[in-house]
Amino acid sequence: MIAVLGLVVGVVAGLLVRPEVPAVVEPYLPIAVVAALDAVFGGLRAMLDGIFDDKVFVVSFLSNVVVAALIVFLGDKLGVGAQLSTGVVVVLGIRIFSNAAAIRRHVFRA
């Protein structure tokens, strides 16, 4: 419950504060958000499976974000930033879908 509250408070804060995204971070923010979403879905699925561990969640969340940003950064340096970020989004999207399918089976039994 606290976790859900944290998410809601974060969204509200982001909408209210509307900070100017620094130019350095700007290309990585969308990918980082998608990676974090993937970690969150993974965590939710683990919770439904009854195997949730906060330490694992923290590590997976942070490493997801860092690795995603790193890949985009590397892609930018190599001149294939757009394609690589597309690839990362596709991979993360697939993982989110499969996790969502597992969550769906838990919640709706279908």
């Binding site: 606290i2 699925r45 195997i51 919640v107």
Partner: protein, 277 residues
């Protein structure tokens, strides 16, 4: 990109997620933290209510706060007014930039043309003002010649005494023509302005100028250069000698200020109209 599924003992599920419903008991058995009696749905409800302040909940809340914040910021910055360009491909951006450059060039050209036109108009209005001044000046000069305005300046006065009544119109006409040839600019005879269309006729013992009968003595008031006018009248065989031969007395006086104030009404031509050419 590690996540929950990469914990030891769960690799199979990661690779074959669709098989999960087929063997739920085995998997739950493999998970040490799993509470055996609960389904996923019950665990979800349990996690949501009642709210428990545990370390795990707080940590996840912090991370989710970060996620929500980033999400909102990204969405907000993406829905800015320039989002149309943000999502555009590089080729499109190049094309849009080219179009803008072309447009700028066109507008620049148009601006230059309009500025040039403005300068021309300003110049031409200046020129029109100058032309108007010149026209007014010319009108005054022509008015003097046409006899519609009074004139003053240096000149001479010529008086012809004709006690015998021998002076005729052609003699006066000779005098007028001699004066004109000598550069007379405005002439009046006994209160009648002499202009280009002036005619003289004999009538009884006197002379008519433009139909106005005038009698001796004939007083010519002439504006012009006195040094030219007087010798022109006095040349041997000229006007003065001819008149004196007819027993008339002629006196010519130079003056610094002659006023020719006899006026003639401006006559509007019946057919001829001024042309702009």
């Amino acid at each position: 990109m590690s996540d929950e599924e990469e914990t030891p003992g769960n690799r199979l599920r990661k690779e074959l997620p669709d098989e999960r419903p087929a063997a739920p008991p085995a998997e739950e058995a493999a998970v040490p933290e799993a509470e055996p009696g609960l389904t996923g749905r019950q665990r979800l409800v349990q996690g949501l209510w009642p709210p428990r302040v545990t370390r795990a909940q707080l940590i996840v809340a912090v991370l989710l706060f970060g996620l929500g914040f980033g999400l909102a910021v990204q969405v907000a910055s993406n829905s800015d007014s320039d989002s149309a360009l943000r999502g555009a491909r590089q080729e499109d951006l190049v094309r849009i930039l080219d179009e803008l450059d072309d447009r700028t060039q066109r507008l620049e050209d148009e601006k230059q043309g309009l500025e040039k036109q403005r300068d021309e108009l300003e110049n031409s209005s200046d020129q029109a003002e100058e032309a108007r001044k010149q026209t007014v000046e010319k009108e005054r000069q022509l008015g003097i010649l046409a006899g519609t305005v009074a004139a003053q300046g240096p000149g001479i006065t010529m008086t012809i005494e004709d006690t015998k009544g021998t002076v005729e119109a052609d003699m006066l006409l000779d005098a007028i023509q001699e004066l004109r040839a000598a550069g007379a600019e405005a002439i009046q005879v006994n209160g009648v302005r002499v202009v280009a269309g002036t005619y003289l006729t004999d009538s009884d013992k006197s002379v008519s100028v433009d139909g106005n009968k005038i009698t001796a003595p004939y007083r010519f008031k002439v504006i012009g250069n006195p040094q030219d006018l007087e010798p022109a009248l006095n040349i041997p065989g000229g006007v003065v000698q001819t008149l004196e031969k007819e027993q008339a007395t002629v006196t010519v006086e130079r003056s610094d200020k002659i006023v020719v104030d006899a006026l003639r009404a401006a006559k509007r031509p019946d057919y001829a109209r001024s042309s702009s050419q």
